[in-house]
């Protein structure tokens, strides 16, 4: 039984991430205990960690920080034990050192960079299905068919300091990083849990991922 910790810190629609992880596990024949949790003991044992996120950068970061045992357990699991980690939307943006949404705020800083507004002449928020183009091989992204669309719902994007952290890009008036990765961490700006088959396939690959 593979334990999957879906971090529960009061973020918006986490049930859809939970359902999608369960569906992805089922379709790939994987026996998983997917749990929406803030329990440090469960997180300490979890084989994979998923951090969802919806709303403002600072509000999400604050919600993590006020639960010190949760943040400590997640940090230990991802930074020390190096469990596979997936950040979704704001859960990915929090990986950055700094967030520039409504002022300047500190993020987790696990990947160097900033989260800033998407500079584009197109309409914002960036809403709907857009193409995801991997720019380097990655076990979670490999297998994504060319021109595959995923669901986006955001106005802010990440800009890693080291461009090697960029794993996939999308275009919306401007090119932006829609997936970033380093070591045992991957983050996606789009919503795999809302991207039908392509999204469930990506989650299945994440559940199977064993970073070196």
């Amino acid at each position: 039984m593979q334990k999957i910790a879906l971090i529960d810190y009061g973020s918006g629609n986490v049930r859809s991430v939970e359902r999608a992880l369960v569906a992805a596990a089922e379709q790939s024949g994987r026996v998983c205990d997917v749990r929406l949790t803030r329990d440090p003991d469960f997180i300490a044992d979890a084989e994979s960690i998923v951090l969802p996120g919806q709303g403002a950068f600072a509000a999400c970061m604050h919600a993590l920080q006020v639960d010190a045992p949760l943040l400590a357990a997640m940090t230990e699991a991802v930074q020390i034990r190096r469990a596979p980690f997936l950040g979704i939307c704001v859960g990915m943006q929090l990986l950055m050192t700094t967030g520039l949404e409504h002022g300047e705020h500190r993020g987790l800083g696990w990947i160097d960079g900033v989260c800033r507004v998407l500079e584009t002449t197109e309409r914002l928020p960036h809403m709907g299905w857009n193409e995801v183009t991997p720019v380097r091989p990655h076990p979670v992204l490999d297998g994504l068919a060319p021109h595959r669309h995923m669901v986006f719902m955001h106005s802010y994007v990440v800009e890693p300091a080291n461009s090697e952290a960029v794993a996939a890009v999308s275009h919306y008036g401007a090119r932006f990083a829609c997936a970033i990765a380093r070591d045992n961490m991957i983050g996606v700006q789009f919503h795999p849990e809302k991207s039908q088959t392509a999204g469930l396939d990506l989650l299945a690959r994440f559940l199977a991922w064993r970073p070196a």
């Binding site: 359902r19 309409r123 914002l124 928020p125 709907g128 986006f152 088959t197």
Partner: protein, 254 residues
Amino acid sequence: MTLAARIIPCLDVKDGRVVKGVNFVGLRDAGDPAELAALYDAQGADEICFLDISASVEGRGALLDAVRRTAERCFTPLTVGGGVRTPEDVRALLAAGADKVSINTAAVMTPDVIDAASSAFGAQCIVVAIDAKQTGPGRWEVFTHGGRTPTGKDAVAFAREASERGAGELLVTSMDRDGAKSGYDLDLLSQIADNVRVPIIASGGAGTLQHLVEAITVGRASAALAASIFHFGTHTLGEARAALAAAGVPVRTV
């Protein structure tokens, strides 16, 4: 390499059941919302919209249950609206499984709810629904309460206000065209498109696939919402995507 135009089947829901009004009267039962939504999800709907027209508390409970049951079976974004008055209503719908919440009457009566909901949950999940009726050449008035109450507000000015207050999208319904199947009000859509920076969802009047195309190419909407043409099997979502693609509109690969 570009954002796809969205086609959104809309389910009008009353007491947990799907109905579709013609000019908002003469409701006709078209089934269970979760069943219908799962069908559209399988057809590759880009998004699914629930508009609740229940007046009663029991109806609201039935809606939350329908949203829960639908969200369980859909892996595509779900927008829910109808009777949303407070940020607490928004929270309840998000918790039930909605990805976005649409605010209509309350957005007009107490526009502060737009600011409050947007700052609490993020602009990306707040849709303001505007029901507009033409009052003269190039002029439209906002109506509330399911199209029954005139407000004296100019639709284009209100669209601008709603987007400035934090709406992440505008769902623009032409009351004149709703249920008439004569095509969207393209003047209304393009007027609003010129005046706001947020995406617009066209609603009211879809009768043919060409109407969906025009909403995007002429009305400059980012998404086209339709009910009857899909509910009664006139067209499938696949046919709608093909029509958009044939007209050179970017659609997604399903």
